[in-house]
Symmetry: none
DNA sequence: GTGGTCTAGACCACC
DNA sequence: GTGGTCTAGACCACC
């Protein structure tokens, strides 16, 4: 089921937040290939947004190949699992590299970072 | 020297991007206690921004105690090393926790993440 | 037999696409004078369209004299060959002129176009 | 200069017509690399359209790499001539093949088509 | 009911 | 002035 934390005060536009939430759900396989998305109007009502805003999200997700829409029958998730797995890996690698870069630029050594990670990972 | 990647198309306001870049330089000790910052007009020219925007950045950094301005003599970095170290640690911990949360939400296990990190850290 | 490439996402209404496809089949003599067309309901089922949409197509084709319907016995193709030949020629001339106009507006010269056509025609 | 024949009665959406007109101007080199486009509001006024509609056109052209926009300084044409030439050729080839296919499907022979083309090309 | 297009008009950030 | 986001609400085609 779709869960959203829309932050109206955030500088990142609402439609981007919604888009990102759906993309995340697809990549986490909470939304599976073929799943029906709520209609534009329904989701707009749930999120208390204008239908145009939701339409922009769906249109953008369709352009990027995550979902597919047909007049009269709404939007469906459209993704092959293999492609998703590659995408997920490349995203998480990219995030980790960004983290490393930031840590190094702040003056932490490789050892500092390893210690930190070990500590935070065992706490989970 | 100040290095900036200003992204005008980003939803996060330009002045916040500049502020963050300077904060990072201070924490990384590339800008040291007592260092002179470029004048508002000079930095504005370099970044092709309106002087008002840069003024807003300096004012905000002064409010938070990172820099100090005096009439006629510009702005100087003002920070004690100890305070910086605590700040840096809390920032990098926060970043790593955010990374972990994202990885988990994408369906990666603790083992997946450990493998990934070991691989990327030894490549560095 | 009727072959259709219905594009639901196209801005040109579905019923016009169907109508055009049938007209083309008649002009290409794949549908001959006297041939029986599938019933409205049958064609609707095949194309996954609403029977109303197909009825609109047949009604319009009848208005233009391409087909003829009788109560209880469906629709039949109705066309004299001579009339068709003139129609076909004027259609194909019109299409070619439109092609030429587009090519010229893109900056191609008469020589460019002749070369292109010779190349593509001998490849067939 | 931008010339438009917007047909409000056409089934193809206004924003698509505007987009196509601009694309055509770029490919015909009537709009050159670096040229400034009229602002969203200006073009909207000229075409008697809502600014949102023009914004949609510009956004879409930017997505496809034809133009580039910056806050506060409007949109500029962005295209390398070489890339354009390839694009033009592939478009015109595609159009000609579609024409040929249609002509063949209407029962014209290669000779019929050659005669027709020679006649219409010398008339120009 | 579904999505697609379009208008009118507001408010924002940045120049 | 520039573009970007968003709302409110209309009308369309197709189901």
């Amino acid at each position: 089921m779709l869960k959203f934390n829309i932050d109206a005060a955030s500088p990142v536009p609402v439609y981007q937040q919604v888009k990102q939430a759906i993309t995340l759900d697809i990549m986490a396989n909470r939304l599976k290939d073929g799943d029906q998305l709520p209609s534009i109007r329904t989701l707009a009502r749930i999120l208390k947004l204008n239908p145009n805003t939701v339409a922009k999200v769906y249109y953008s997700l369709e352009q990027e190949g995550y979902i597919e829409g047909r007049r009269g029958s709404g939007y469906q998730v459209k993704c092959q699992k293999g492609k998703m797995d590659n995408l997920k890996l490349s995203i998480i690698e990219h995030e980790f590299k960004a983290f490393l870069e930031k840590a190094f630029s702040l003056g932490f050594t490789k050892e500092d970072i390893e210690k930190l990670m070990r500590r935070l990972l065992t706490n989970e």
